[in-house]
Amino acid sequence: MASLVGSRVERKEDKRFLTGKGRYTADINLANQTYAIFVRSPHARASIKKINIDKALKSSGVVSILTGKEIADDKIGGLIAGWAIRSEDGTEMKCPGNPPLAKDNVNFVGDPVAVVIAESLAEAKEAAEKVEVDYKVLKAVTSTADAMDGDTIHEGIDKNLCFDWLLGDRQKVKEAFDKADKVISIDIINNRLIPNAMEPRACVADYNAASEEITLYTTSQNPHLSRLIMSAFGNVAPEHKLRVVAPDVGGGFGSKINVYNEDIVCSWAAKKINRAIKWVAERSESFLTDIHGRDHVTHAELAVTKDGKFLGFKNETIANLGAYARVFGTVTPTYLFGPCATGVYEIPAAYTNVKAVYTNTAPVDAYRGAGRPEATYTIERLVEKASMELGIDKTELRIKNFPTAFPFKQTLVHTVDSGDYVAGMEKAKQMADYKGFEARRRESEAKGKLRGIGVTSYFEACGIAPSAAVMSLGCGVGLWESAEVRFNPTGQVTVYTGSHSHGQSHQTTFAQIAADELGVPIENIDIVHGDTDKGTFGMGTYGSRSLAVGGIAIVNACKKIVEKGKRVTAKMLEANPEDVEFKDGEFIVSKSNKKKTIGEVAFACYLPGVRDEMKSPLPEGDEPGLKETSFYDPSNFSFPAGTHIAEVEIDPETGHVKLEKYTACDDFGRIINPMVVEGQVHGGLAQGIGQALYENAEYDETGQLMTGSYMDYTMPRADNFPEFNIGYTCTHATTNPLGVKGCGEAGAIAAPPTVMNAVIDALGGQEVTMPATAEKVWKACKNLKKSNSKAA
């Protein structure tokens, strides 16, 4: 039987998605349901003096109106940060309370203060307009760079500082810088982004008064984790009385990891009014209240010798957390950022210092890449600048500092098991026709255009993550994954996974893996996820962990099935279990022609006694049935890597940047389904290029979101991109049995510095902040013209 792993198996999920048969949260309608509308703060920072709901209560169709007072009275807990970070001085991070409905203070535009529940959506909206909230408006803090000088947002949190964290050794770095021939320094801004999943957030909460069980259908990347948080911290219901279902989910990118205010409020309120409640975000609410991503201000320095060896690296960053610290809000700018900031290089001494600040803006949390795009942007912009200042070819300078032996003990935290960075660079250069660039540059010049080329070599730590490692770094949970493989008596297989697919094609790729492991046709394998009542438990999908962690749990559960199958076969065929081999779905007794198919074995497991003259085929100690569970805790992160090369052409008269060529050569380890991986790479690149050239979340000084719709927030479109030139080098991971690494975030990690390096190359080294909009680039072109004419 041919292996399915590695082939372009068509997606099982496409039939329902492409024919409009997906079942998303907003598609779920329950009998007698009500509709919720949230009353949100129009101010970035204010204290709530009074809320008057009298008029609203009289509005037609209103069932209930609840505020922060009721939720506090019922002792419902607030939203939490899932990762404890300690400051350099040893103090614990400082987190404010974040009640699901604000009671005393609001801290960003969109912070919910009340929920209006009515018989219809229109009635709920109308009544919500009649809720009168008397605010005392306070001066907002919105700037990342200046947040520490602003008014104190949260009582007791001095300088709006959550933590001041250090990773690395300042003294060693100082010594390295003292020895340097040259220090390259850079000031950069990693612009704030809004994730913009295609499906806005939604939830439907239901309460069964007889079983006292709450069921919450919600747009989540991790239903079990959500249940745990809502139960343990939200006090919504004990875990066995709370079922969380995340059905088809239309994109997450990290924005659907968090338990949100609406999840808690609707679950709590459904029990209170003893009716189902439905809430679906409008796109404007998504802009305002989904977690945002990035938002760093960084000063970084690289100490080098004159021939280009890197000696030391400093990274001083201010990271904006927004109004509150959320689930991965504190780890994203620390352990997901700092360790990767030294990039793919051997740098003997390094440190990263991060000051995480609160501002009156939407909470910032993990967004595709989470910390690693910010890290890669820092080091790769710096390395590119070093190549310009040292006059060493940008690819040669990188190669000079690549590690060549693996495992590679990276400067700050990670031990990278495998990779071949030089091979990746060489292949990328060939794919991009790096040598031919100068000729293309001259062609552009002849047309009056400026052409630039940019390179990025990256590695990232994903497949998060070993429980022992992350829990020692402050994570509140272990990041293992579970899988359960169940055979039906008639031989089909259901695989329950704790991973969650919201666009990642698990239904196909996981089935490919199980089909290979079990020798069962892929048509006979179903992948089930997204319901706490079905699978055992799961930590969900983020940090490119589904395959490298969840997929391995499936492999391990399948291996347990095979082991049991061997014992059963041995009993059935009167052989020694050690003599039974398993191949392509058949258990074969070696050196004989005796064999059983896995289907026959499954049947025998469920119907012991009907075969072999009514004698049970089950060995002593084995129970009936064929079902195995595995909880897999990885031994290490996984470390995808690669080199990307971009070429841009700039019209100096208008500042328009055209991305002419984009080459991505990635090492994702073993690839399960090349078609799915291409999709992941394309999507990641679109988001990464979006950050570099188009997307930007902008607040004004009063904390109003200026880019709150698609009229002003530039979501890239297909015509913004060239045909992507994609290739791979595949060095298998040595830390898991499939040799896989993870591909979901690479594009978003590598693309921003790649494109910006190209833009800045075209502009003769002038810094431009992301996104490189036409006006910024036009101004830089004018400066370039001035300095060129001076030089002439």
Binding site: E653, T654, G655, H656, Y694, E698, M706, T707, Y710, M711, D712, Y713, T714, M715, T773, A774, E775, W778
Partner: protein, 261 residues
């Protein structure tokens, strides 16, 4: 969205009769409906004019192209007659919004709304259009009064727009990357005798740039306007483009348009 009455008028007369101070004509609804959904506009009555047959369709004569007010952008962009007579008008229609907008939005709606960054008003100015209403004929130069303001009176309905066929013409726009409305759009049309340089997006209302028109009427070459330093004091400035950048774009787009003629 607040409740409203929906009417489907069978002819201009009925549409006009139904109009009041709290009504709006509804064609494609590409601006009206979102405004109502966002609570920015409320109407007691919406008078749908899409079903008035007389208002749709394209007629080309030797001198002019006449387009019914309820004609959709996609019909203009796909029309072989328009492509032949005024190719730049067809490509302008092809560049409006996105396919969804082009499949519903209408030329009359665009002009009546007079959004300062809409594309069609520049075509009207550049192509010396005449706006035919149910009451009168209005020259384009007198039609666009200011931001979202036109010469239309309450209850007056645009029936058709008649464009003069130029010798040469081109429309070039620098779109807002998010909305794809024009940050600056310049429509250059060379008629017998004079040249119009209609600019949209740059100021509060579409206008004919007299200086560039004059320079190009003298010498129809992009070199005659190259490096022209335009006064940006009346130009729009927002987070997408400063007034200075817009002033620069007016010249560069005009040059592009001349070169494309």
């Amino acid at each position: 969205m607040k409740d409203f009455n929906y009417h489907s008028a069978k002819d201009s007369k009925e549409a006009s009769k139904l109009a009041s101070s709290s009504s709006a004509f509804l064609a494609g609804g590409m601006t009206t409906i979102p405004s109502m959904k966002l609570g920015l506009a409320t109407y007691k009555d919406l008078i749908d004019i899409k079903n008035i047959k007389k208002l749709s369709g394209i007629k080309v004569s030797g001198k002019s192209v006449t387009i019914g007010a309820a004609t959709k952008h996609v019909e203009v962009s796909n029309s072989k007659d328009v492509k032949k007579a005024i190719p730049s008008l067809s490509s302008l229609a092809e560049g409006i919004g996105d396919p969804q907008v082009r499949n519903r939005g209408t030329i009359g709606g665009s002009i009546a709304n007079n959004d300062p960054s809409a594309d069609y008003p520049s075509a009207c100015i550049a192509l010396n259009a005449t706006i035919h209403t149910n009451e009168r004929k209005i020259e384009a130069a007198k039609f666009f009064k200011g931001m979202f303001e036109t010469a239309l009176k309450k209850g007056e309905l645009i029936e058709a727009i008649e464009f003069q066929i130029p010798e040469k013409s081109s429309y070039q726009k620098h779109p807002n990357p998010a909305s794809r409305y024009a940050i600056v759009g310049v429509y250059v049309a060379k008629h017998k005798g004079d040249v119009n340089v209609a600019v949209t997006g740059a100021k509060s209302c579409v206008y004919n740039d007299k200086e560039m028109s004059k320079a190009l009427s003298g010498n129809f070459s992009s070199s005659s306007i190259d490096g022209m330093d335009l006064d940006s004091s009346e130009m729009n400035s927002d987070m997408h483009a400063s007034a200075d950048f817009r002033a620069n774009l007016v010249v560069t787009q005009a040059k592009k348009a001349v070169d494309a003629c």
